[in-house]
Symmetry: C2
Subunit: 459 residues, 2 copies
């Protein structure tokens, strides 16, 4: 049970909590865009100020890239330490023309706040900051020490944080990492995510003639790099959705009967899901259910294609170059480096004479699964049950939070992935949103979580 004083304070603070979120969302902190760098840093300063305003001492930790914002409440002996991790950077907003309102001018309609970063991750990480600040505002001590680590490069792979983890291990020392960067299983059906997929990203380039050629004068004489690129990508995955890179599935652990049953027991309707996405049929690797494919099977996706003439009208050329942005989602045990090597080998071996094939790996991270029987998990279940009024389900997630597996390794800490948002919140898509009710409920669930974790004896 949440302390009534805090409970009522959370209700009073709702408008302020929303105003805070609007302020933060106005900052276009797109970490993949070098020209947005000042905005990225401004978003970091904003959250530092917010933490400072609650009386916390902020550490502004410089990295080779965007700074880390760190803060902590006073130590509480004998109980676990929690580290809240989140990120102040966001995905690019493109394609801009598909947004109903501007991506960085937050707009509230139908109970949702619309803006890039609303759910991924500004809105979600802010729930934990607001809950701690509310708790502190009551004048009572928090029942455990909470540390905050908010970074600015999650959307570009967290490489700089990862590199600094060893030297930050003392600062970040904790028993459990709390991350809200995922979703409820369904509206009002809370979930605890115990598995994430890894990721490996690439740029594939096929180069042909020195420059674009007239498709009349030269058509038939040279291999078209656009066609060569398509053939390489087409060869990478068969019509049953099986990925063709040699050894790609070697380290993929089969799902246990128990886990398949657990997935099957979750309420999921393929037809309704397809309808919600606007497709007539779902598609994926033969022999697996949709949830299995999304959560626990690896994938290969085209993220973008760029080649030749893209404007209005016709330009009849053989393009000199064609490029594809590619990503694989990986399951635990798959090694991103091995996958990168397999992918590069495959494309090089399938690259035909007459074009030059290059593969440039970008960021990568392994997947993870965490134990489902820990006392932290039990505390989280209790907190979610109280805030949502029903028991949470245990799920996995198809997305990647690259740093999670690194935290597990570097800090020897458990991870709690508690999603407050919804699957249709349009993370990484136009019209990203976060329901204000979910935001407020997340703050409340977070407040209860501190109470539940504070009851545990520290090992």
């Amino acid at each position: 049970m949440l302390d009534p004083a805090i409970d009522s304070l959370l209700t009073q603070r709702q408008q302020q909590d929303v105003d805070d979120l609007i302020q933060w969302l106005r900052i276009p902190s797109v970490s993949s865009d070098p020209t947005a760098q000042p905005h990225v840093e401004a978003a970091g300063r904003w959250v530092a100020d917010r933490l400072r305003s609650g009386g916390l001492h902020v550490q502004w930790i410089e990295t080779a890239g965007n700074p880390l914002v760190f803060a902590q409440t006073p130590p509480v002996p004998g109980v676990p330490v929690a580290l809240v991790y989140g990120h102040y950077d966001v995905q690019p907003a493109e394609p801009l023309e598909l947004w109903e309102t501007a991506a960085f001018e937050p707009d509230i309609r139908n109970g949702n706040i619309y803006a890039r970063g609303a759910t991924d991750d500004k809105g979600q990480v802010l729930t934990h900051i607001q809950s701690v600040l509310a708790w502190l505002q009551t004048g009572r001590p928090l029942p455990l020490q909470v540390k905050f680590l908010i970074e600015g490069e999650e959307e570009v792979g967290s490489a700089n944080l990862e590199r600094m983890l060893p030297e930050l291990a003392d600062t970040l020392a904790c028993d459990v990492v709390v991350i809200s960067d995922s979703s409820q299983f369904a509206p009002n059906q809370p979930a605890i995510t115990y598995g994430l997929r890894g990721i490996a990203t690439f740029e594939l380039t096929v180069s042909g003639p020195r420059q674009d050629l007239h498709s009349g004068s030269f058509g038939g004489a040279v291999l078209n790099p656009g066609i060569a690129l398509c053939k390489l990508i087409a060869a990478a995955v068969d019509d049953q959705g099986r990925i063709q890179f040699p050894g790609f599935y070697d380290d993929v652990q089969p799902l246990t009967d128990q886990e398949r049953q657990q997935f099957a027991d979750l309420p999921h309707d393929d037809v309704a899901f397809a309808t919600s996405l606007g497709v007539r049929a779902l598609f994926g690797e033969t022999g697996f259910t949709t949830l299995e494919r999304k959560w626990a099977r690896p994938t290969f996706d085209v993220n973008g294609l760029t080649c030749g003439h893209q404007g209005a009208g016709v330009k009849t050329i053989i393009p000199a170059v064609a490029t594809a942005k590619l990503s694989c989602r990986l399951v635990p045990q798959q090694d991103p480096d091995k996958i990168a090597a397999a992918l590069e080998d495959f494309f090089q071996q399938h690259g035909p004479a007459g074009v030059q094939v290059t593969v440039k790996p970008d960021h990568a991270a392994p997947g993870m699964v965490s134990g489902i029987d820990s006392p932290y998990m039990a505390a989280a279940k209790a907190a979610l049950a109280e805030a949502f009024g029903c028991q949470p389900v245990l799920i996995r997630e198809g997305g990647s939070i690259p740093i999670v597996q690194k935290f597990q390794a570097a800090l020897k800490a458990d991870c709690l992935l508690l999603g407050w948002g919804l699957n249709d919140d349009n993370a990484h898509s136009p019209n990203e949103k976060f329901a204000l009710a979910d935001y407020h409920r997340g703050i409340r669930a977070s407040a209860v979580l501190w109470s539940e974790l504070g009851k545990l004896q520290h090992g």
Copy 2:
């Protein structure tokens, strides 16, 4: 032999002829770009003014699109009438960053003038205007009537001119159409082009989910439109370069042994050709030589690909839409409408569940071959032999001049395709150029052509 008075006048006029070309090339008359429309019209006005300056009466013929510029010299009874056709519109200049000097700021270096349109087609059509104006400047009558038709939509398919041909048939009435929009066979090896390929252009769109999706949360659940597009394109042509649209080759006439021999007799070196294009190997339909593939076999090319994230860095999405700009080059007897239907059928039938496939045909035109034994051909051979100092070879061209076949049909006229430029003049590519020596020689060859055609009796 060219009249010595004209010969010497052509030498005197060289600087003025170059200055004229520079002026015209400065006008960015990109017909496929709606925002460039005022420039396109300005390029038409420029050539109208140039014709007017020589004492010709210009007809400014409005169409549903860009105007036609028409002018004619006085009738000469008893000899053939020649119609010079060319175009004042140009291809887009993109990719701009690959130009050494700006596409619409003509730059002369190493004896070449560099600008979009230098050879395609402003520089080449201007040779005929300059030769006629020079002839008129001497005060002597031209030995035949020359008509000029300069249009502004050749690079977007000439649809409006085509539609108006029946009503313009009297105005344009002629015995032979003269077009310089092709190339010499090799430097200093003049050529008369007796065949052109046709063209059919398309936009292929593959639509999947309503909007871009997070590749983590949704990867494995839906078919990726980028991959689906690649698979469709990959299926369209096999690894031997054979196009797979049903019936695509049905109307393709086999090359005669005589024509294959004629091609084989031309000096052509695959290794040198590959080197000139910057590729390690040539590629095309198995069983045909490079010249056969370029000139007399149909092709399928990707002109452009657009899908998902194209900027810097990584954006891990399943793109909602993927599009390809496609073109086929066709040989005579292939019907562009039949080809369009076959292509659309193929892509619709191969379009998998889970995505929507649409094919939008754009401009199209059949190919052509003209007789090689006409008196006009003989006159052209004599003119080129005098101007170049060696006999021209007979060749075909892989490119398309869509209106040529329409002229043949509507005007019952022969066609002479006389290329003054070079194959490496970068038509449709960055750093398009035209050698000033080729420009001046083209003017001289044109002047001799009027003399040779003027010797013919009109049937």
